[in-house]
């Protein structure tokens, strides 16, 4: 499949180079194409059928032509140009040249104007992709504006008053804002807040960050062997530490002020699926005191409703789920070739959700070229 596409894409991009285009593209009638096809060796027809027709290797020539014509009905122009490219590649072949208008056969100088006239046919017919400039368009710094929380952020904070909340939103959407605001409210009500993260490094970062926001005396951090400002209303720790505290409380030794605990924030709670440590999140959630509200912050996961439903079954109040998949800052995907050439990755400017095959033709071509050149000879993908 790659072969003839490559061939074609290459032809597209070399179109400015007249010598490479042996036959000018023009719209042929079905009869003409049929005639042309009939003149070609069957091997060429099979190459043409690759990727278009399933099980084409079973068909005889007549049947193959018939099927090819049927399958190319919507995209006649693309089919035609593929056919012509393939014929062009077979320069040495003895078959008679296809019937063409004499003017169209003239090789070079008069070609450019006519080609531009035919130009619109090509890109439309075969995978139009955005240009690099339109892909890069919009790059830049937004004008400074006062921060306005998103609706979902407001919603999460409001819902946290009466129930547990599960937030599953893409990375970088502003989960921290929810955590900070929720913590602020709980502290204002003289409640203790516990914030847990999966990694000690993240705990440290958050400790610094929250100390700046709330003031150093309002934030404490607990690790296995150290306790800084353990009486502060906002305590940061890893999830394991919180689990241990909850076990101690269950065993009768109350260590932290669990009775005043108002809010437990579990950041990166998609770690519940971690093969080694996931169980700690479950234990923490199961043993979390019922008077404290739970706020689970997680990156996009496939089944946040399961988590919310689970919390609803085991917690006193029904859990509220907040999820969305649109990013605050839109994302675009690009492809950078080792020779420094940058192209869009997909045919669309943004990411075509649900259409993994919508690759940009140029990116596809460059990657195929990369693979051909880097893979050991004789071995193909």
């Amino acid at each position: 499949m790659r072969d003839e596409e490559n061939g074609f894409v290459e032809e597209l991009f070399h179109a400015d180079h007249p010598s490479l285009v042996t036959h000018h593209l023009r719209i042929m009638t079905t009869e003409e194409i049929e005639q042309l096809l009939a003149q070609q060796p069957i091997a060429l027809l099979h190459r043409l059928a690759r990727g278009r027709v399933q099980r084409h290797f079973r068909a005889g020539k007549r049947r193959l032509i018939e099927v090819l014509l049927r399958h190319s009905a919507e995209n006649r122009a693309g089919f035609e140009s593929d056919l012509l490219t393939l014929i062009g590649e077979q320069q040495a072949r003895p078959a008679p040249p296809p019937p063409q208008a004499p003017a169209a056969r003239k090789p070079k100088p008069s070609a450019p104007p006519r080609r531009t006239a035919h130009r619109p046919v090509e890109p439309e017919s075969h995978e139009p992709g955005v240009t690099l400039s339109s892909w890069l368009d919009g790059l830049g710094v937004p004008p400074p504006q006062t921060f306005v929380p998103d609706a979902w952020q407001e919603d999460a904070i409001a819902k946290l008053r009466e129930s547990d909340v599960v937030v599953s939103v893409p990375t970088g959407s502003g989960k921290t804002y929810v955590a900070v605001e929720a913590a602020r409210r709980a502290i204002a009500e003289n409640r203790t807040v516990i914030y847990t993260s999966p990694l000690k490094a993240l705990s440290n970062t958050k400790y610094t960050e929250f100390s700046k926001i709330f003031g150093a005396d309002q934030v404490g951090i607990l690790t296995g062997d150290r306790r800084d400002n353990g009486q502060a209303p906002l305590l940061i720790m890893t999830t394991e530490i919180l689990r241990n505290l909850l076990y101690d409380a269950g065993g009768g030794e109350i260590d932290v002020r669990l009775d005043t605990l108002g809010l437990v924030i579990l950041d990166e709670s998609q770690y519940i699926a971690d093969p080694e440590r996931g169980v700690v999140w479950e234990e923490t959630i199961i043993f979390c005191p019922s008077q404290a509200k739970l706020l689970l912050l997680s990156a996009s996961i496939g089944n946040p409703h399961d988590i919310a439903e689970w919390l609803t079954t085991i917690r006193p109040t029904p859990c509220h789920l907040i999820r969305h998949s649109t990013r605050t800052v839109p994302l675009r995907a690009g492809y950078l070739h080792p020779n420094g050439k940058l192209t869009p990755f997909f045919r669309t400017v943004g990411i075509p959700h649900g259409h993994p095959s919508h690759l940009h033709p140029e990116a596809k071509r460059l990657f195929a070229q990369y693979e051909d050149e880097t893979l050991p000879s004789g071995r193909r993908r």
Partner: protein, 619 residues
């Protein structure tokens, strides 16, 4: 074509298109370090004001964490505005890089994908160079969630209008994984609930045994198991509907009835053709016509090479080597005389059924045999078979042959029995799904009872009371070590060293300081115990070389961090993590003040000795 873009070219390309700052995710730490080295002699310097800005931020971080003042990457960071950020670095260095990124001072950070969650800073652009990631021991394709988490670092809120995730090929890339990752819906996550010994002890401390099952039922694991059970239950309901027309007939359980009847019927019909016309003496003889047996055929004589039954009639046959060298196939009935001689013969699975040498040997022996040979006495059983009668009688017990619903039963049986089998299977799986957690919990209880942490009534013993405070990996090994008094008289350095070898789970090779003989023999004992516990708990790696690093750090208070790093090829960040994890383990031992005062004291002293220099910088 180079296998991947050169880091310098990459930065030039990104700057040209205004795609900085960027996070470049690379496969390995080494790739990150090599990328940094590539800038050593490059001249793509930052304009002086930006260099100045970097210096200012760095100075601020260094004031807080002096350990990074001499960091070898600082010159490159300042000149070019690129940095490396991976698990091999000290946390304080990573904080410095994050701080620089937050101030927008850097153009690019080279990071590993291993800790995508740990890279908690956004950039305008993310460069993706691989589609697989090292998980524990081997490389796995990135999941959709992981691709989105990586790509999600692109685009800073308030600082960018759009974020860019740029793929650049390298030998470790499969475009399909990435396209699927970009465009797909993240995978559903599944519970990874495991029941550990400390969990059992702590639960039983707080709750009596009969309350445990409801607590386990609150887990996400059980929630998901229930979901699966519900799916099966729905299927079961469907099956019940499908079984409706096959309800009770003349007999209440006609399926079983028909099944048994059918089986018996089949058994009977199968017996008939075989060996029906075999006279009893032939059947009795046939057993003795084994390879090597000398037999007579009328006047001539031969040796049996093999016995078999003919394909169609199943009549008894033998292959014999005759006097004179001929090999013949003949019915067993042509044998007139069975002698008591058996000649040695090495048989083979193909013609002539024994090795050529033994053919010659047999022929020679055959010729040398005397003219008359004693015959083998063979007992011939009396011909009184009663088995068919028995079956006829059994068949008589069934009502089926004359039952009015016989034809319906015969028609419906295949489908009905298939449905019923499926029903049974579902019922069993549902039961397993509902109770598996509880069974796993009980298995752990059994082990803990066996080791004496729990009473037969599943209450905590004195040992259990303190053992429940050890809530780390390999807890059973550690508590058993304490019970065996393994650390009696061991100094803090030794204790910490053993703990770090238990805590460390990375098998990265390297060069390390020498292990002291005392530590070596102690580790030998630990290893022995770990192996004996292996049916109940996976043994840790217990690397002695790793233990030596910790031993040196605690044993020699004058040793500087640089000095420690020079004594091993381990990366700074790995040493830090090793010591930090050791601290965690030791602090659990420290909680055993009440029952093991000596050990707790030793652990406190080890903690105090460990916490110096770099390890004191962060909480």
């Amino acid at each position: 074509m180079p296998p991947s873009i050169h880091p310098v070219d990459l930065i030039i390309a990104l700057r040209e298109k205004h795609l900085t700052p960027a996070i470049v995710f690379l496969t390995s730490r080494r790739a990150c370090d090599e990328a940094m080295q590539a800038f050593d002699h490059s001249h793509i310097l930052l304009p002086p004001p930006r260099q100045q800005a970097i210096a200012t931020v760095l100075d601020k971080v260094i004031a807080q964490y002096p350990s990074i003042a001499e960091h070898p990457l600082i010159p490159t960071v300042q000149r070019i505005g690129v940095a490396a950020h991976h698990a091999g670095h000290l946390p304080s260095w990573k904080i410095a890089v994050e701080e620089l990124m937050r101030h927008g001072c850097l153009d690019a950070v080279f990071a590993t994908t291993t800790l995508a969650a740990g890279v908690d800073f956004p950039a305008r652009t993310v460069i993706i160079t691989q589609s697989s990631i090292r998980k524990s021991r081997d490389f796995m394709d990135l999941t959709i969630g992981e691709v989105q988490q990586i790509a999600g670092r692109a685009g800073r809120r308030g600082k960018d209008l759009v974020g860019f995730a740029i793929v650049t090929p390298s030998p470790y890339i499969d475009l399909n994984v990435l396209t699927k990752g970009f465009t797909g819906h993240p995978e559903a996550i599944n519970s990874q609930f495991v029941i550990s010994y400390p969990m059992v002890l702590n639960l039983l401390k707080a709750h009596p045994l009969d309350q445990i099952q409801p607590i386990l039922a609150k887990s996400f694991a059980q929630f998901q198991l229930n979901q699966r059970a519900e799916v099966l239950e729905r299927k079961l309901d469907d099956l019940r509907d499908q079984m409706e027309p096959f309800g009770p007939r003349v007999c209440t359980d006609w399926i079983t009835e028909w099944q048994t009847f059918d089986q018996v019927r089949r058994q009977k019909s199968h017996r008939a053709p075989v060996r029906r016309h075999e006279p009893p003496e032939l059947a009795a003889r046939f057993h003795f016509l084994t390879p090597g047996r000398v037999v007579g055929f009328g006047r001539s004589r031969g040796v049996v090479l093999r016995q078999y039954r003919s394909k169609g009639q199943k009549s008894p046959m033998i292959t014999a080597l005759r006097l004179g060298g001929g090999i013949t196939e003949s019915p067993a009935s042509t044998v007139t005389e069975v002698s008591d001689r058996v000649l040695d013969c090495v048989d083979t699975p193909i013609y002539p059924w024994c090795t050529p040498e033994s053919v010659e040997e047999l022929l020679r022996h055959l010729e040398e045999l005397p003219g008359r040979l004693p015959e083998l006495p063979i007992l011939i059983p009396k011909d009184n078979e009663t088995i068919p009668d028995a079956i006829v009688q059994t068949l008589g017990d069934f009502a089926c042959p004359t039952c009015p619903s016989r034809s319906a039963c015969q028609r419906d049986y295949p489908l009905a029995s298939k449905l019923r089998q499926e029903q049974h299977r579902h019922v069993k799986s549902i039961q397993a799904l509902r109770t598996s957690l509880w069974h796993r919990f009980q298995e752990k209880i059994d082990v803990l009872q066996q080791f004496g942490y729990l009473t037969p009534a599943a209450r905590l013993t004195d040992n259990g009371e303190w053992a429940r405070l050890i809530r780390i990996d390999h807890s059973l090994l550690i508590t058993e070590l304490l019970r065996a008094d393994a650390f009696n008289g061991a100094d803090p350095a030794m204790l910490a060293a053993v703990m770090s070898s238990i805590a460390h789970d990375d098998d990265r090779p390297g060069a390390f300081p020498r292990v002291s003989s005392g530590l070596g023999s102690l580790l030998g004992q630990v290893r022995k115990l770990a192996v004996s516990l292996s049916p109940h708990e996976d043994p840790p790696l217990l690397r002695a070389d790793i233990a030596a690093v910790t031993e040196r750090w605690i044993g020699d208070p004058s040793l500087t961090w640089i000095g420690l790093c020079k004594s091993t090829t381990m990366a700074e960040g790995d040493i830090y993590r090793l010591l930090a994890r050791t601290l965690e383990f030791l602090s659990q031992l420290r909680t055993l003040k009440g029952t093991h005062p000596g050990l707790a004291d030793s652990a406190s002293r080890a903690i105090a000795a460990l916490r110096r220099g770099v390890l004191e910088e962060l909480p």
